[in-house]
Amino acid sequence: MTFEYVEPEDLDEASAALGADEDAVALAGGTAFTLLLRQGLIRPGRVVGLRRLAELRGISAHKGGLRIGALATHREIEMSPHVRALQPALAAAFAAIATIRIRNQATIGGNLAHADPSQDPPPILVALGATIEIAGPAGARRSVPVESFFIDYLSTVLSPGELILGVTVPPAAPKDRAVYHKFLPRSADDYATVSVAASVRLEADGRIAGCRIALGGAGPTPVRARRVEAAVIGRVPTAELIRDAADLVRDEIDPIDDARGSVRYKREMAAVWVRRALTELVA
């Protein structure tokens, strides 16, 4: 198998290289690309290496928010002092991905563009209200909330000629809390049977002012559990409220039967892990 390999020096050149060939594939860390290539499922005509693009690098903090370049590796995010200080749940979620060899190689931009609904970064980024910055042809720029970025299994809103510049995470209020749990009944480096990310903002009087919940492994894209959120927002959390709200997630998700569990089992486990996540956040 042969393909053309190019390494653009700037974003416009990268966009042109990606837009000109229907079978062009962008290459960041290459962890997903290599698997698809070795499985024989993709035959790219052109591979566009992104590693020379300086705009895609770095992790910075601004007024409590984070900007994470598309080429930041999972390990860089896990270890970043900015991420650890401002969004510890995000650092913890990245620290729990796969194995250290993969975390040293895989990038946040590559992960999002690959759009495998079993992966860990999307749910926690959705729970934190993160946004994806996209660069397009002729200097075009647009932003898309992470929850609107995925349209189907391995499919995103990215058009030919577009690539991910980076991810911005809005500032958290002092009492905001977030957590990411993945249910791994097989092995620690497996994809989760289901995973749950949740963030909660508590009022001084104990009521839940805001809540965002997102699940991985629960459908063709990451799934936001809006019915569960609506059932707890504005309420004072009790064990009963949380249990009843968490049960709503069973019908909000659309998992598949596979080696990690049946549809019915995944619905049950989603309810269990949403309950655990919320219970932990309001404790």
Binding site: V25, L36, L41, I42, R43, A115, Y153, L154, I256, D257
Partner: protein, 148 residues
């Protein structure tokens, strides 16, 4: 992989059945089918393309009518396709049945027995089943539009 899809079409059984007997018309309702060429009375060659994200499937092959039972409203189709680029193929036996449904409409049942060969199989059954469901939903709505 055995699949079953059921849907209702707001047209009489006879009209739906007449449409099903006309393979080019049926093919036109399946998203991704093109270059249909008639080989003989009951056989056509053609191409079928479908994709999952960056993975593009392009099957070239034949589809033929094996059994046509007008009285019962049953048809058996056999389709074979090969993807030269990815390496692999698909063989399918498809049974179409039509029965009178509610409010003058027609209930359609499509049973497919699909064998996936080679690399395409790497996608896994759950993903292929989802894709088949998506194609079948589009087929049902295009068919309903055509008969409206």
């Amino acid at each position: 992989m055995k699949l079953q899809h059921r849907f209702a079409v707001p047209a009489s059984r006879d009209r739906v059945w007449a449409t099903f007997k006309d393979l080019p018309v049926v093919a036109a309702c399946v998203p991704g089918v093109d270059e249909l060429v008639r080989l003989d009375a009951d056989r056509y060659s053609g191409r079928f393309g479908a994709g999952v994200g960056p993975i593009h499937l392009s099957l070239e092959g034949e589809v033929g009518l094996e059994i046509l039972d007008d009285a019962a409203g049953r048809a058996l189709l056999r389709a074979n396709g090969t993807d030269r680029r990815l390496g692999g193929g698909v063989r399918a036996l498809v049974t179409l049945s039509v029965d009178p449904g509610e409010a003058g409409g027609t209930d359609v049942v499509i049973d497919s027995d699909v064998q996936v060969l080679g690399r395409i199989g790497e996608l896994g059954q759950p993903i292929m089943k989802r894709k088949a469901d998506e194609i079948m939903r589009a087929f049902a709505s295009r068919l309903a539009e055509r008969l409206a």
